[in-house]
């Protein structure tokens, strides 16, 4: 690793670790599994392992992701990205950051890597909490079965990697907007408009044109609810859209007339 970049990463992590962003990522990841756990304890027969052991984990998994993929995850991305970039604007620290011996490229990508890592932390925590929500109710309530086998970890990992990939366009756009506008409201408002556009795209046969719907489309694919056959692979489109959004953000950051 480039030493300048390594130092930039450390600096960004030092700024981030004491912010509410880490807690938001963990609490956000806990929310739905907690609701699922409570729901199972209140209605013990809804998710029976013994009724269909082969499908138990997949069913629990899809139920949990159903709420997350369309609304909560995109909103979380918008919130965390804006919040982390806003630290610099709010504290008036851009100028201090930019006069330290770090290249603009290092600063830009270090911040981005930290935000991506938070998203990854959210994914890992969310999946861990889903697994716990599948086990804990059985340990607490005698009418609920305790699963006899582990969840399909390989499938979950592949699905999560694909989900992370489809989140990148929104992350790239939100990062670019958050760097561009010092006013917290502007990137959040644009991000919310993108989420709404993504929800509408789910009903549209040309929905692949809206990059913010890719995570929802991926959820539809993994849950077997695929409605449309798109002419292009949404995973490649995710990657291309991300490169375009992040590239525009990078150039705008590099050539900005007034920095800090």
């Amino acid at each position: 690793m480039n030493t300048t970049f390594g130092r930039s990463l450390q600096c960004e992590w030092m700024k981030t670790r004491h912010t509410p962003a880490v807690r938001i990522a963990l609490v956000g990841a806990l929310l739905i599994p907690l609701i699922m756990t409570i729901a199972q304890l209140r209605m013990p027969k809804t998710m029976s392992y013994n009724a269909n052991p082969a499908e138990y984990w997949i069913k629990l998994y899809i139920h949990s992701w159903e709420f997350m993929a369309v609304l909560l995850l995109p909103f979380g991305i918008i919130l965390i990205t804006s919040m982390l970039v806003q630290i610099e604007f709010k504290n008036n620290t851009w100028k201090q950051t930019l006069i330290t011996p770090q290249s603009l490229t290092s600063i830009y990508f270090a911040k981005f890597v930290i935000i991506s890592m938070l998203l990854l932390l959210f994914f890992v925590s969310f999946n861990l909490f889903i697994v716990l929500s599948g086990i804990i109710p059985g340990l607490l309530h005698s009418d609920i079965d305790v699963p006899a086998h582990w969840p399909p970890l390989l499938k979950i990992t592949k699905d999560m990697a694909a989900m992370w990939l489809t989140c990148l366009p929104l992350l790239g756009l939100q990062y670019t907007l958050s760097l561009r506008f010092s006013n917290f409201i502007v990137p959040i408002a644009i991000g919310l408009a993108c989420i709404i556009a993504g929800i509408f795209a789910l009903q549209w046969s040309q929905g692949y044109l809206i990059p913010f719907a890719y995570s929802s489309f991926h959820f539809m694919i993994m849950s077997g609810q695929e409605k449309f056959q798109f002419p292009y692979n949404i995973y490649w489109l995710s990657l291309i859209s991300f490169v375009v959004f992040a590239g525009v953000g990078y150039l705008s950051f590099l050539f900005r007339k007034y920095k800090g």
Binding site: T4, Q96, I99, P101
Partner: protein, 304 residues
Amino acid sequence: MYTLQTKQLSHRFGNGQMAVDHINLQVPDQSIYCFLGPNGAGKTTTLRLLLGLIKPTAGTINFFPNHPSPNRVALMQRIGACIEVPSLFHHLTAVQNVAICANAYRTPKSRMDEVLQLLGLADAKNKKVSQFSLGMKQRLSIAIALLHQPELVILDEPTNGLDPQGIAEIRSTIIELNKNEKITFLISSHLLSEVEKLATHVGIIHKGQMKFQGTMTELYQASSKAAKLILSTDNDEAAMQLIATHFDMQPIASGALIYSSIDQSLSLKINRMLHDHRIGVSQLQWQDNDLETHFLRLIQNPTL
């Protein structure tokens, strides 16, 4: 030898206003160069241009011309700066703020305690910056600027928000570092009294233009050059004629005995001459030969 030189440095804002107008800044090695000007004169814009936070419309900036740095990252390792209001992370403690910069500058941890001690913040190092007063924030910002023992320190209004004792402490710290560690300081200020006590060199800027640049001694000389001698006698008309005849001087204001002169011994000579001619002198005084008046005159009428 200069630590910093600019040639025709200019910056025009988006609305067409010339914020910095062809400035040739010359900061000598190991000097305390004070950049003086009223609010809105272009001081902060110039400092931001120097640090690369704004791009110049025209002109060049040359840091360490004798030992130039190969790139911006290497250059920034040699410069410490604090621009405008303190740039600090309010959700972090003082020591955490310093640690972020220590990491960026590759500074050993022992140095962190040293600068906090130097700026009188050792006892408050574990306190969150959000609980700091403006003066403490200012001290912390200066501590961060000094952290990596830079060759040049650029400070924008460093005594803002400090109490008189704090101002005196910061001043003596700067003078000490300049003398003992040979650090060059470029300090912007609108407080003339502070500049008088601190600077070895001064640059006066107004409306984006450099009105004066030189040593403090040169500034004092220029100041006394523009001093006024004010006289009141019991026969002003005769006194005026005598002064014109003997000293070849004309009053600068019509109908009053007010003369512009550099020669401080003139008052004695005139007094003696008027006494010899039996003209009573009721008032004889030098006025406006202090730095403040000269500064005000410079920014109001640069031709003086």
